[in-house]
């Protein structure tokens, strides 16, 4: 199976790889997937508490090329968005942007889960109702 150029680009030069301090109150961390499933994504956001805008996003992913590309793309999309806007990111947007084939749709689902989980963690830390 051949990968799309966009997947290959994100895979070779992934954007926003790294780790934010998860103890920081403004950082929300989402860790989804499981090693035995062959995919683990950790996605982190750093939120400006005044504006609720995501100022930074980082990821690390254990998985196939599509999983890495999906999380790299997700971090790019997250930066500059409010947390409410971020919640509206749909996995099918990722599928479309990266031209993922049907067998790789689960990678985009995982990225969406990671976004939601990071935001939920941030909200929990800051006692914001979901």
């Amino acid at each position: 199976m051949a990968y799309s150029e966009k997947v290959i680009e994100h895979f070779k030069r992934p954007k926003n790889v790294g780790t934010l301090d998860k103890e920081n109150k403004n950082v929300g961390t989402g860790l989804v997937g499981a090693p035995e499933c062959g995919d683990v994504m950790r996605l982190q956001i750093e939120v400006d508490e005044q504006s609720n805008i995501i100022k930074d996003a980082k990821f690390k992913t254990f998985g196939c090329g599509s999983a890495i590309a999906s999380s790299s793309l997700a971090t790019e999309w997250l930066k500059g968005k409010s947390i409410d806007e971020a919640l509206s990111i749909d996995n099918m947007d990722i599928v479309e942007e990266l031209a993922l084939p049907p067998v790789k749709i689960h990678c985009s689902v995982l990225a969406e889960d990671a976004i939601k989980s990071a935001i939920s963690d941030y909200k929990k830390k800051n006692s914001i109702e979901e």
Binding site: T19, T61, V109
Partner: protein
Amino acid sequence: MNSERLIYLDNNSTTPTDPRVVEAMLPYFHQYHGNAASRNHPFGWIAEDAVDKARQQIADLISVDSREIIFTSGATESDNLALKGVFEMYKRKGNHIVTLTTEHKAVLDSCKKIEKMGGEVTYLEVNSDGLVDLQKLEDAIKENTILVSIMWANNETGVIQPMKEIGEICAKKGVLFMSDATQAVGKIPVDPKSIGIHLMAFTGHKMYGPKGVGALFVNRKSPRVKVTSQIDGGGHERGMRSGTLNVPGIVGLGKAAEIAKKEMAAEADRLSKLRDKLESALYANMEEVYINGNTDHRMPHVTNISFKHVEGEGLMMTFNQNIGVSSGSACTSASLEPSYVLIALGLGDDLAHSSLRFSLGRFTTEEEIDITIKQVTDGVNHMRDLSPIWEMYKDGVDLDSVVWASH
């Protein structure tokens, strides 16, 4: 990335056809196009002679009588014919078959079909090194057992089963012994008669012959083994497999067998040195590298390695623009399940997902192995830099204690 050169280390999935084999086959497409079953003109005689010669070359490679070779379309068909054919032919003797969980799908799926046809199949688990437990095998053979089917060498790990001992158990218990020897024939000495194998499947395209042609060895004397044909129409191949013989393919398989017989020993020696070099370099370059399967009883050209905390398919993507290997991770399949062979060895799903199989071949060079060592090392390091579980491992997090959100 590195060199533009294409490097093929996936010889267990298929081998390139040796140019000498191609050359031998060519005249039989146009110049000598006859049907080997045409008994009344020179076109047929020439084709028949070519088939006879090839049958003898193949028989010589595995030290059997040429009349014991049945040509098929490949190992999958040979496996089907052996298993279903014995099941049907020996119905009155029993309906039970013993096999391993690590067999090829051609055997396992045939066994599944046999179960639907009223057969009973025992799928024995293997030890953590991939070898059959001989005591368990002996215990599994019952009154109604007609056949034991155990592969010679595993396609994923290269692990070689103790064939001699299995043959002795089968002889003692008086059951037929069938082996899928697809990965072994032409690469290591394979002598079914000395082991007491009654049926043995193999194919051309794993031994530098063409695709689409294979064979089943069927023991002819003491005991005279018969299988019920699965493809009918004309009674070719002593009634066991009908269909016009694939003369160019058979000539190619014959030539491949002749070359293998001559060159096998030197080739195995050369490839095992290269394989060992690859393995020890990767082992030395990185931490958390595991070799899967028994390393004392293993094919000379194969290694199956897990790079912990790295997913195999993603890892392959770091170098698959020029290096072809295969992965035990099946992220492309709908099931997302990793290799059942590695799982059967007791590897956790995470290690199975982290595995790569390198299978070297006749045309592999040392320079290619050097390039591979470099590119795989770079790839693993790249993937580990991206891997959250590698980071957790490095931070001393006990990964078993993490509650994963399985999906």
